[in-house]
């Protein structure tokens, strides 16, 4: 029997409603309900995907229309959930990794008074994320898009007693608004151009629209993707988002939500297929971010921020791949999946370390933890081997393919991807060495201990996936064939012999590892307080000017505009009157004595307004 796609969304949504509405009454069992909802939706997802697999290869699709949302004239928007091969892999990732992280959180959040509310938000997130990937039209996708954003802000600011958490939530919200603006423009453009926002209709008619329109839609979608996926120039919120509880960082800010931008571009690939300009922009954004994130990862001493820099960088790889056109789509999704395994595993590992170290995040205070926390170390090490791309671990299969197609595209893209691989090897080795090797630099009251089984079992499962998941997806599941009906298929040509690629990549990775070993390896003395460092390290610590950019480009002009407007609104007339000259100044002073309040200036502004209206009318009429 095939389950209903709507049920998949409804289960976590209902559970969230129960957890958030029943209040303290459900404190005792709330977290188990949250886990049950996540696991339940995973089972539904599994059922759906297995049913999907039984359908003929070319036309796999399970659709369910819940209700007609808007119907005006010829324009219809249905709330329709569609499972196709692309959304299938996403629902498995979201509910699968989601379930593991729910279970892990039972242990991680054990001592938190608001654990029930935490699970409510997590369930809400899962429901919204499922809506996002199951939507069969842009408007419903937009609903999910805003929903995951909302859950993400609630969870970033979950520890509201920390002012840094509240301000991080705020920052994430504001930066994301810029991206959401892009999506709303894309929705409107699509609606006006095609008279529909449903994916099948839009994609079928895409080649009839003018190429300028298509490019604009593509760029607006890219802006949306940049906001949600923390890509340049909207990347800065992700590092601050690490203020949230670590399971949140693992689920939302590593494995699923931040990859929604990649999903969006992949889902709308018929648009990008038609516009080389939009594709070029995607490649540029991806290449820049993958290097930026990696460089930021080098300098961070906070283990979560180092991993966050790495997330930015890895999503940069996916963006790069998805911008390459048909040769890249499948590999972007492939890397998205393997990254979901190993990065979620490593974040949870970092959480496990923090759990054992009194919530310390500074790696300069770690060291020699491999014996104290053997399971965490073992699973983290597998994630590490996967991310730097050592065969046969998961990351090797996907990253290697991305480097290959990047070279097929151009030397610049390929070079960036290869350089990124070297830096990745460097900073991840650094994290590894600083945390688990070397001398113990623990704070006096730290007594590192292994986490309880409820936390380590998810680590082991994710480690197993990081170890064999890449190979299995490629050779057992046949991901390439599975996704082909949705994403198409492309063949490129390498500018050099393909037998060179693997040795080249591995050499570059070895170089990165060796360099890190030289600095942080055996016997290296790591000071507990960070040295000043070179200009390069200092720039990287400052997020390569991400905040500076926000401040100069987004915040300051905004503040200045606001201040000016307020001033104008409060006292424009006084200023204008003062400017006119002595006589009026005196008059104005006398008037001010004669009355208090600003009614007179309001009236004058109204006169000015009337004059503006009159002038606008006159210009049309007499111009």
């Amino acid at each position: 029997m095939t389950a209903s796609p709507a049920l998949l969304v409804a289960v976590p949504l209902l559970s969230a409603a129960v957890l958030l509405l029943t209040g303290r009454r459900s404190d005792r069992w709330g977290h188990w309900l949250g886990c049950a909802a996540a696991v339940g939706s995973f089972l539904i997802a599994l059922n759906l995907v297995l049913s999907l697999a039984k359908q003929p290869h070319e036309s796999r699709e399970i659709s369910q229309t819940v209700w007609t949302w808007i119907s005006v004239g010829g324009f219809n928007v249905d709330v329709t959930f569609t499972v196709d091969p692309l959304s299938a892999v996403f629902i498995l990732l979201i509910t699968g990794v989601g379930s593991l992280i729910h279970i892990y959180s039972v242990g991680y959040m054990e001592h938190d008074d608001n654990r029930r509310r935490f699970f409510g938000y997590l369930n809400l997130f899962v429901a919204a994320m499922l809506t996002l990937v199951l939507a069969n039209n842009l408007l419903l996708l937009y609903v999910g898009w805003e929903g995951v954003g909302l859950a993400s802000y609630l969870l970033i600011g979950f520890w509201q007693h920390k002012p840094s958490a509240a301000s991080a939530a705020n920052k994430a919200f504001i930066v994301n608004r810029v991206g959401d603006f892009g999506l709303s423009i894309a929705v409107m453009l699509t609606f006006v151009t095609f008279g529909s926002v449903a994916f099948p209709e839009v994609f079928a008619a895409a080649d009839k629209a003018s190429s300028t329109t298509i490019t604009w839609i593509g760029l607006a979608l890219l802006l949306a993707a940049c906001g949600k996926s923390a890509q340049f120039p909207l990347q800065s919120w992700l590092l601050d988002a690490m203020e949230g509880p670590t399971p949140v960082s693992a689920l939302i800010h590593a494995a699923t939500m931040v990859t929604a931008g990649v999903y969006l571009v992949a889902r709308c690939h018929p648009i990008f297929d038609l516009s080389a300009t939009a594709r070029g922009a995607v490649v540029a954004v991806g290449a820049i971010t993958l290097l930026m994130g990696a460089v930021i990862g080098i300098a961070k001493d906070d283990i979560k921020k180092a991993l966050a820099g790495s997330t930015m960088s890895q999503i940069g790889y996916m963006m790069l791949a998805v911008g390459l056109g048909p040769i890249g789509y499948i590999w972007a999704i492939f890397h998205l999946l393997t990254h979901g395994f190993f990065k979620a595993g490593m974040f949870l590992g970092a959480g496990s370390v923090m759990h054992g170290m009194n919530d310390e995040v500074n790696m300069r205070r770690y060291g020699a933890l491999r014996t104290a926390m053997a399971v965490t170390f073992g699973t983290f090490a597998i994630g590490y081997l996967a991310i730097i791309g050592v065969p046969p671990f998961a990351g090797f299969w996907s990253k290697d393919e991305i480097i290959k197609v990047a070279f097929e595209h151009s030397w610049v893209a390929g070079g960036a991807a290869l350089l990124g691989a070297a830096i990745t090897a460097y900073y991840m080795t650094r994290v590894m060495l600083m945390t688990f090797f070397g001398k113990a630099r623990w704070a006096d009251d730290a007594h590192p201990h292994e986490s309880p089984a409820v936390m380590t079992i998810p680590l082991v499962v994710l480690a197993a996936l990081s170890a064999v998941g890449g190979w299995a997806l490629l050779h057992v599941v046949n991901l390439e064939t599975w996704l082909e009906p949705v994403l198409g298929h492309g063949e490129g040509e390498l500018p050099f012999s393909s037998s060179l690629l693997l040795p080249l990549t591995l050499a570059v990775v070895a170089l990165g590892v060796a360099a890190a070993w030289k600095v942080y390896g055996a016997g290296a003395d790591i000071p507990v307080s960070a040295p000043r460092g070179s200009w390069f390290i200092r720039a990287a610590r400052a997020d390569l000017g991400g905040d500076l950019f926000n401040e100069k480009v987004l915040m300051q002009p905004g503040q200045r505009l606001t201040a000016t407007l307020v001033r104008v609104d409060d006292s424009v007339v006084d200023g204008a009157v003062r400017g006119i000259g002595g006589f009026t100044t005196a008059l104005s002073a006398r008037l001010r004595q004669a009355q208090n309040g600003f009614a007179r200036s309001y009236a004058l502004v109204m006169v000015i307004g009337a004059v503006i209206v009159a002038l606008a009318l006159a210009m049309v009429r007499f111009a």
Partner: protein, 511 residues
């Protein structure tokens, strides 16, 4: 031979005018009650009369659903938009009256000063103590009556009279807050002075239009406009002044400056009604004038309206960001909303009309509920309207915080709320052609606007609160108002078809 009467007997279609006549009649009776009945009796009779007449008028309004007729010798029109606007206004009036009745949240009594004429702080004032006054009811009924007439008016003189009938009581009511009376009185004076000024502007505009076209009724103006396109300067000046006068009432920039002061000073129960209903009535009239009388000259006024719309959205959204008083935040957000609605007006098409109407209905209920909710969060000095005082509200009353968050998200236009439906309806009408730029400005503004809505939400949920601030348990009336607001936000968001279909069914203005 019969005597030729100098005037023919006017023909009045009483049945079609039922809503207006019932309310104005009740207002007159209400004045009489005020004059003859004893105080205790007045307190029972006045609300009874108000709710009774509103109910009859609403029933009458439903009965007019299919009527499309020019009535009262051409002074008023009963057509689809009239009926839907009057129906909305009457429901808003019922909800507003419920808020005015609320006497549980403030230990001192209902929201209005026991006697507005006493000097604030004087022994005289204290002498009246917690007594309740009933003079607000006739004023309220007259205001409602005027509002019902305004969007139905079919000539400029009737429109002007309706405008004055609903404006004057509102000026008075603004000055009647029980608490912070000086602020309230200052607001009333400002509102009155500026309102009088805008009425004069409106009247002057009407005179110029008469001079240009030789007609005051909308059909006559429309004929003259299409017949004689060379009547340039006079007509332009007249239209500009007329627009300025009406834009004052809807609170569009740069004619908006009164609204934060007045919204802040007026009794919150009245602010709630006024912010919702004035906008509905004034936009209804504005739409009729622009579409019916000046529809032929749309090319002339569209650029001016585009400028005003863009300005309102930006000024409203940006200025709201730095406000620290929630009533002022809502006031500036209503300036931005005026701009969003003007985007629909700008389209100058049937789609623009229905988009604007959808927006008005959606906006009215949510705004009324939001202001209604403001009255329950209190400090010892009265309502706590400083954003700081709302910090940590979620801990004190999760329900209040959740509901207010939902209302704010609705105003921000989050999908699946009525705010999204409204923006969708208004903007899709204006999208395409040169108006697209205005819609883009709208999208930018709503992006900015979301920031200040969120600021309040974040502070409610994520900050530590002030213990002096408490959440009062309101009476059934306030709870009904908030409930209706929340229901409209959700229902019209999840099933926008209900609202879109209703509005599409009413058709266009009758000429």
């Amino acid at each position: 031979m019969g005597v030729q009467l100098p005037f023919p007997t006017p023909q009045i279609e009483y049945s079609l005018l039922l809503p207006v006549l019932v309310i104005l009649g009740a207002a007159v009776v209400s004045v009489l009650i005020e004059a003859v009945a004893a105080e205790s009796l007045r307190r029972t009779l006045q609300p009874l009369l108000a709710f009774g007449s509103l109910a009859i008028a609403l029933a009458g309004c439903v009965g007019l659903w299919d009527q499309r007729q020019v009535v009262a010798q051409g002074a008023l029109v009963v057509d689809g938009p009239t009926v839907i606007l009057q129906g909305t206004l009457l429901i808003l009036a019922v909800l507003g009256a419920l808020l005015m009745m609320e006497s549980r949240v403030d230990p001192a009594g209902d929201p209005f000063a026991a006697r507005a004429s006493t000097i604030p702080g004087s022994a005289d004032e204290r002498g009246f103590g917690a007594r309740r006054q009933t003079e607000v009811w006739p004023l309220f009924l007259f205001a409602v009556g005027g509002m019902l007439m305004f969007p139905a008016a079919n000539d400029l003189l009737t429109a002007f009279i309706a405008l004055e009938v609903f404006s004057l009581p509102l000026y008075l009511l603004t000055g009647m807050a029980r608490r912070r009376r000086l602020l309230s009185q200052e607001a009333a004076l400002k509102y009155f002075v500026l309102g009088a000024f805008s009425s004069a502007v409106f009247l002057f505009g009407s005179a110029l239009i008469y001079a240009a076209t030789g007609s005051l009724d909308f059909a006559g103006i429309a004929d003259a406009v299409s017949a004689d396109p060379t009547s340039g300067l006079l007509l332009s000046a007249g239209v500009a002044l007329l627009l300025a006068g009406m834009l004052f009432k809807v609170g569009a920039a740069p004619f908006h400056q009164w609204s934060p002061d007045v919204y802040q000073g007026a009794p919150t129960a009245l602010t709630a009604f006024m912010s919702a209903a004035t906008k509905v009535a004034a936009f209804g009239a504005l739409l009729r004038v622009m579409f019916v009388a000046l529809g032929g000259a749309a090319w002339d006024w569209q650029p001016a309206v585009a400028v005003i719309a863009g300005l309102s959205m930006l000024v409203g959204a940006i200025t709201a960001v730095v406000q620290s008083d929630i009533k002022r935040v809502l006031a500036y957000s209503s300036v931005a909303h005026a701009g969003f609605i003007l985007t629909g007006v700008l389209a100058a098409s049937p789609k623009g009309l229905s988009g604007s109407l959808v927006y008005l209905v959606a906006y009215g209920f949510v705004t009324l509920a939001a202001f209604g909710l403001l009255t329950v969060v209190r400090s010892p000095a009265g309502e706590a309207t400083d954003v700081q005082q709302w910090a940590g509200l979620a801990k004190k009353s999760p329900v209040t915080a959740s509901v207010f968050s939902l209302l704010l998200l609705t105003m921000a236009g989050l999908p699946l709320t009525s705010g999204f439906t409204a923006k969708f309806a208004a903007w899709s009408a204006a999208w395409g052609g040169w108006q697209t730029g205005v819609v883009v400005i709208g999208a930018v503004s709503s992006t900015i606007a979301a920031a200040f809505y969120l600021r309040i939400i974040v502070s409610m949920w994520f900050s530590e609160g002030d213990d002096a601030v408490v959440v009062a348990l309101p009476g059934l009336g306030t709870r009904t108002v908030v409930g209706v607001g929340v229901a409209s936000a959700v229902v019209f968001g999840v099933a926008p078809q209900l609202l879109l279909g209703l509005v599409d069914g009413v058709g266009v203005f009758l000429r």
